[in-house]
C-alpha cells in the first residue's frame, strides 16, 4: 500500500535554524494551501461534478481554488475517474510537466481500484502505481461537497507540510517508472527528464535510480535543454 510505503521514506524537510526563514517557509506553505490551481483536464466521468463545484452554487474560488489550462500553471492534477491506458500516458506526461509542489487527487472509486471497470482491458486499476497520489476522494461519483471537503483536507495537509508526495516521484522514480514500463512497454519514455531534474533540484533519493531507469537510459536519448551556445566547435551541419 502506498501510504505505508510513503511513511517509510524519511521526510527530508530539515527545519532551518533561522526563525525568519521558518516564518517565511510557513508563509509560503500557507499561501500554497490557500491558492490551488486545478488543471483543466477531464480524464473521466467524475469531471462532470467539477463544474458544479466550481460554479455559482459551491464556488470553489472562495477557497482560492480555480481552474487552469495548461499543466505548467497548475498545482493539482485531478484524476476524475477511470484512466484508460491511452489517457494514462497523457496523465503521466502532464504530471511530469507540472511544477512542484504538485498534488494528485484521485477522484472516484475507479482511481482506487478500477471501480466498476475492474474487468475492463482498457483502464488502469491502481493509480498510485504510476504516480504518487496525495488524496483519494472515493465515490461514484463524489458529490461536489465531497470534492470540496476533500480539497479542504488537502489544504490542511499542505499547510502542515504533510502533502509532499510529489517528492516521492523524484525519490522513488525507479518504482514508478517500472510500473509504467510494465504497462506501456520497455521503450516507454517521456520528454521530461526526471532524473536530471531530480539532480538539479537536489531531490535524489535512494529509489531514484535503479534497474528501470537503466533500461530507460538504454532507449532514451535524453532531451538536453537547448542552451544558448557560442563559439564552441560543433559537428558540421548535416547536409
Amino acid at each position: 500500500m502506498v501510504m505505508s510505503r510513503l511513511q517509510k521514506i524519511p521526510v527530508v524537510e530539515e527545519k532551518k535554524g533561522n526563525p525568519l526563514a521558518r516564518v517565511f517557509d510557513d508563509l509560503v506553505r500557507f499561501c500554497r494551501s490557500r491558492s490551488l490551481f486545478i488543471l483543466h483536464y477531464c480524464t473521466g466521468c467524475g469531471a462532470i461534478e467539477l463544474p458544479p463545484a466550481m460554479t455559482s452554487r459551491f464556488d470553489m474560488e472562495r477557497l482560492g481554488i480555480q481552474p487552469m489550462v495548461s499543466p505548467r500553471q497548475a498545482d493539482i492534477l485531478l484524476i476524475t475517474g477511470y484512466v484508460s491506458i491511452k489517457t494514462l500516458k497523457r496523465v503521466i506526461l502532464t504530471y511530469e510537466q507540472m511544477g512542484s509542489p504538485k498534488y494528485v487527487v484521485g477522484i472516484c472509486s475507479c482511481t482506487v481500484n478500477g471501480g466498476m471497470y475492474w474487468q475492463s482491458y482498457a483502464t488502469a486499476k491502481k493509480l498510485d502505481e504510476y504516480m504518487p497520489v496525495d488524496l483519494y476522494i472515493a465515490g461514484c461519483m463524489p458529490r461536489p461537497e465531497a470534492v470540496i471537503s476533500g480539497l479542504q483536507k488537502l489544504m490542511d495537509r499542505i499547510k502542515n507540510g504533510e502533502a509532499d508526495s510529489w517528492q516521492d516521484y523524484y525519490r522513488n522514480y525507479d518504482y514508478y517508472l517500472g510500473n509504467q514500463q510494465k504497462l506501456f512497454g520497455e521503450d516507454w519514455q517521456t520528454p521530461t527528464d526526471i532524473i536530471t531534474e531530480a539532480k538539479h533540484y537536489e531531490l535524489m533519493g535512494e529509489g531514484t535510480l535503479g534497474q528501470h531507469t537503466r533500461l530507460l537510459e538504454q532507449h532514451q536519448q535524453p532531451l538536453e535543454a537547448l542552451e544558448m551556445r557560442l563559439g564552441h566547435k560543433l559537428k558540421e551541419p548535416v547536409e
Partner: protein, 189 residues
C-alpha cells in the same frame, strides 16, 4: 400508413434473391440476405425506398458458428421505418465490402468494427485505428479475447487489508471467501 409502406417494401425486396423478410413490428423490418446481395439491397433501399439514414452497423461474433454477423440498420425519414439487414460472413479471413459509397456514416462504424473485431472492409476510406491507437493486443471484442486474463497479466489491484480487518478475521469474524471463489486478482499468481 406504415403498414402500407411495409407491403410496398415487401414487393420491392422480392427483387433480391435469397432474401428473407420478417416484420417485427409496424416500424421494424428484419431482412436476412446472403452477404453478396447486401450492397444491392442497400442500394435498392436507399435509391428507391428512401432509406437514406444509416443508423448503425452492428457486428456480432458468433464464434461457435465461425461467423461474424453484420447488421445494417437503415432508417427512412419518409416512411418512418427501420430495416435491419443481417448478413453473415466467415470469421476467417473476415473481409467484407465497404458501403461507404452508399452511406458516409459507414466509415466510422466500419472503422470501429475493424479495430474491435478485426474485420477488414474493402473500399472503406480509413481503416486506421481510432480508439485503440495504442493497443497492440488482439481485437478485443472478439469472443476469444479474454480480458480478465489480459488484466491479470498487465495490471494489479490495490490490496485492502487494514489491521482492524485482520484482527476481526483473526477473531473468527469477517467474511472469509474460500480461495476458489476469490476474485482472480486476489489469487496468487
Amino acid at each position: 400508413m406504415s403498414q402500407q409502406v411495409a407491403h410496398w417494401l415487401d414487393n420491392l425486396l422480392k427483387e433480391i434473391e435469397g432474401i428473407e423478410v420478417r416484420r417485427k413490428s409496424s416500424r421494424r423490418v428484419r431482412v436476412d440476405v446472403p452477404a453478396d446481395a447486401l450492397p444491392a439491397l442497400l442500394e435498392l433501399l436507399q435509391g428507391r425506398a428512401g432509406y437514406i439514414h444509416l443508423s448503425a452497423i452492428s457486428c456480432v461474433d458468433w464464434i461457435d458458428d465461425g461467423e461474424f454477423e453484420l447488421v445494417y440498420h437503415v432508417w427512412s425519414y419518409e416512411s418512418h421505418s427501420l430495416v435491419s439487414a443481417h448478413i453473415r460472413i466467415a470469421r476467417e479471413p473476415g473481409v467484407y465490402l465497404s458501403v461507404y459509397d452508399l452511406y458516409q456514416p459507414a466509415a466510422f462504424f466500419e472503422r470501429d468494427i475493424h479495430e474491435m473485431y478485426g474485420i477488414h472492409f474493402e473500399g472503406s476510406p480509413n481503416m486506421e485505428k481510432f480508439i485503440l491507437t495504442e493497443w497492440d493486443g488482439p481485437p478485443p471484442m472478439r469472443k476469444e479475447f479474454d480480458s480478465e486474463a489480459y488484466i491479470n497479466e498487465h495490471l494489479s489491484w490495490q490490496e485492502y487489508n487494514p489491521e482492524w480487518l485482520q484482527e476481526l478475521v483473526a477473531e473468527g469474524g469477517g467474511v472469509i471467501i474460500p480461495p476458489e471463489e476469490q476474485r482472480f486478482s486476489q489469487k496468487k499468481k
